[in-house]
């Protein structure tokens, strides 16, 4: 039970990171755009999910779908109006813009909803423990792990086996070449940005019980999202997946054995790994 508890607890946290960060990885890889506001999209989705459950009594799966749709729509609007102007801008401008967006979002949420943490009321079937025969563990964690694995498979199939997936992969590897071959890169950006942000929204709602949900969310977890994306390698879905599990389990193990300051080691490990392998575990070496 010792090891299983740690692996499952860490994997659950890791899965939440995966679901939120996968969108960031793909858009950073695809658009070369440093979107530090990714956490803000996640948070807005999380709030939509939690509040729709609280005030409209939506069941959890419906609320997750609503969160996805709402944030995806918002992402399309923001991408066309704001983000698209900055694709050719310098990285500094992109960073400044997206950080500014984060501050605006934090302030808006604090003003409209309030500064306190939102608690999510999980449906009955997700509470308590599940007995799998060989294993008894927290139902909620098992559900998150199952969801993460399912998502990973769905995305992998999507990228490897569909035309759209092929176009995205091509654009990630070489945007100019893909464009010259007739890929509508602009539409690809918008669609990917929307789906990525929608997934982030679901991740925040799904993980609200583990990562919490309050107005400071985008800044608090920004480092974790970026670590997962960097360690995984830009634009590589399976990379994000394994990096997220790795970070999730490592964080859990460190907090378990060194509760006093264990999280510091994550940063040290990330530093060491990126020094040795700057493209991340699965990334492509810079051309």
């Amino acid at each position: 039970m010792d090891l299983t508890g740690i692996l499952l607890g860490g994997a659950a946290a890791g899965m939440v990171l995966f679901v939120v960060s996968v969108g960031l990885s793909v858009t950073m890889g695809l658009m070369g755009f440093v979107n530090l506001a990714h956490g803000a999209f996640a948070m807005l989705g999380g709030y939509a999910i939690v509040l729709s459950m609280k005030h409209w009594g939506l069941p959890f799966p419906a609320a997750l779908a609503l969160g996805f749709a709402a944030v995806a729509a918002l992402a399309v609007v923001l991408e066309r109006t704001l983000y698209a102007r900055l694709y050719r801008a310098s990285e500094l401008d992109q960073v400044l813009f997206t950080i500014g967006l984060v501050f605006v979002t934090i302030a808006l949420v604090t003003l409209t909803v309030g500064p306190e943490t939102q608690t999510v009321l999980l449906p009955e079937w997700l509470r308590g423990q599940t007995d799998l025969g060989f294993l008894r563990y927290r139902s909620y964690s098992l559900a998150i792990i199952a969801f993460g694995v399912a998502l990973m498979l769905a995305l992998w199939l999507g990228f490897e086996r569909t035309q759209l997936g092929a176009r995205i992969r091509a654009a990630v590897d070489n945007r100019r070449m893909a464009a010259s071959l007739g890929v509508d890169v602009g539409r690809l950006f918008t669609a990917t940005f929307a789906v990525g942000s929608g997934l982030a929204a679901m991740g925040a709602g799904l993980g609200a019980e583990i990562l919490g949900l309050d107005p400071q969310y985008p800044l608090r977890y920004l480092a974790y999202f970026l670590i997962v994306v960097a360690v995984g390698g830009l634009g590589r879905v399976h990379g994000v997946f394994f990096a997220a599990i790795l970070i999730g389990v490592l964080d859990f193990v460190l907090k378990f054995h060194f509760p006093k300051g264990g999280t510091m080691f994550i940063y040290a490990l990330t530093l060491a790994l990126l020094l040795a392998r700057p493209q991340g575990l699965f990334g492509r070496k810079a051309a």
């Binding site: 039970m1 010792d2 508890g5 740690i6 607890g9 860490g10 659950a12 946290a13 309030g114 500064p115 306190e116 943490t117 608690t119 509470r127 308590g128 423990q129 008894r136 927290r138 909620y140 964690s141 019980e209 583990i210 990562l211 919490g212 309050d214 400071q216 608090r220 964080d251 859990f252 193990v253 907090k255 378990f256 054995h257 509760p259 006093k260």
Partner: protein, 400 residues
């Protein structure tokens, strides 16, 4: 010489008139976190103060009471220090009251000490805070009141031999750990693990810390986290990891079962054993009256909690000082009036302020949460009477 005598006389009579005009008004400066993470707590204390005045209209005698409020905004300390300084220098209050967070109390102590203004603390629970200035009196609690009493009760009443302690890593948390450990080990128990569980600023994922506690298989798991969202997270994680089924009882000070958050915790909270100086289910006439009046004023879902009662009793203490001093709030005399003050009819039972430590002496109630008609209710197990702050009593660590 004569002109000097005349001007001296004129000045003296002006001062007497001015002094006379002021002596009828008692100006109370209230510093609470009215916004930010502590907003709900600030509101509870504020309401407690209001409710005291409402239910005891004659308490201040002939004194006119003016309340000036300032927002501490956050537990950081700096904003509170500024707010307290403003209350003293700009608003010229007779005394300062309030303060939710220990960090804020610690930051404000030098200000009231230098200004020689009384400070009546209505929450901040780190034990040695009252040692920071002779102008500080506390009507709320020290972490040691509940922590020490629980350590003793865990060994003697709950018959636990081993305990794991989980605590938030900041002064009240460390205080709570020390208090519990001191008493538990003195009574023959053994603390087999101490787990710092992140800071008070944000609610961490408690899963790794609770998993570690679960693996150690103690008889009891004593947890202190700040009241509010942390407490809700604790109870959820306890339930989610099946710790009760594994035979580990969750115990702690009443911060983890604060009345305003209690009902949201659901069935995971059943069986929790807490030690505290107040909860809304206390069965005495003064409390029944308070709870009824509270719900009438703020709705059936509202409830007083330990912070509210601290606001209530704090006003009672200030009212006593004001009446006994005929509304002339000389700082030294206010402190003398507060020391040794007793209040038999508080909704939390009889309380008094210890003259040697200026800290509260009160009952502690050991209770277990049960579900009754779909509501979580505190079922009394035992009452420990006349509990002092054992940290200062035994002169442990910083409490010398």
């Amino acid at each position: 010489m004569k002109s000097r005598l005349v001007s001296l006389f004129a000045a003296a009579s002006l001062a007497a008139i001015a002094g006379g005009a002021q002596s009828q008004t008692v100006r109370i400066g209230v510093k609470l976190t009215y916004t930010g993470v502590g907003a709900e707590f600030g509101q509870q204390v504020d309401r407690g103060m209001q409710m005291f005045v409402k239910l005891n209209p004659g308490a201040f005698g002939s004194c006119k009471v003016e309340i000036v409020k300032r927002d501490g905004k956050n537990p950081g300390g700096a904003d509170s220090k500024t707010a307290v300084a403003e209350l003293i220098t700009q608003e010229k209050v007779d005394l300062v009251a309030g303060i939710i967070y220990s960090g804020n109390a610690i930051a404000s102590a030098p200000v009231v000490d230098a200004a020689k203004k009384p400070l009546v603390i209505m929450n901040a629970g780190t034990a040695w805070i009252t040692n920071l200035s002779p102008y500080i009196a506390r009507v709320s609690f020290s972490m040691w009141h509940a922590g020490h009493a629980m350590g003793d009760a865990a060994a003697k009443t709950l018959k636990a031999k081993t305990a794991v302690v989980g605590y938030s890593d900041f002064p009240p948390g460390k205080d709570s750990l020390e208090a519990f450990k001191h008493a538990f080990e003195a009574a023959g128990g053994k603390v087999i693990d101490e787990i710092p569980m992140g800071g008070p600023g944000q609610v961490p994922d408690f899963t790794p810390f609770f998993q570690r506690a679960k693996d150690k298989k103690p008889d009891v798991f004593f947890v202190f986290v700040p009241a509010g969202d942390h407490a809700v997270g604790v109870v959820k994680t306890y339930g989610a990891l099946g710790m009760r089924q594994a035979g580990i009882r969750l115990i702690g000070p009443g911060d983890i079962t604060q009345d305003i958050k209690l009902q949201a915790m659901g069935k995971d909270a059943i069986g929790l054993v807490t030690m505290h100086h107040y909860h809304a289910d206390l069965d005495n006439p003064a409390n029944k009256r308070l709870v009824a009046a509270w719900k009438q004023e703020w709705g059936a879902a509202a409830t007083p909690d330990f912070m509210a009662i601290q606001g209530y009793d704090g006003m009672a203490a200030i009212a006593h000082a004001a009446r006994s001093l005929n509304c002339k709030m000389d700082p030294e005399k206010v402190m003398a009036a507060l020391k040794g003050w007793t209040f038999k009819d508080s909704p939390r039972g009889p309380i008094s302020i210890d003259p040697s430590t200026r800290d509260i002496v009160m009952n502690e109630y050991l209770s277990e949460l049960v579900m009754q008609d779909g509501r979580l209710v505190q079922r009394p197990i035992a009452t420990i009477r006349g509990v002092k702050d054992m940290c200062k009593e035994l002169k442990v660590g910083r409490c010398k």
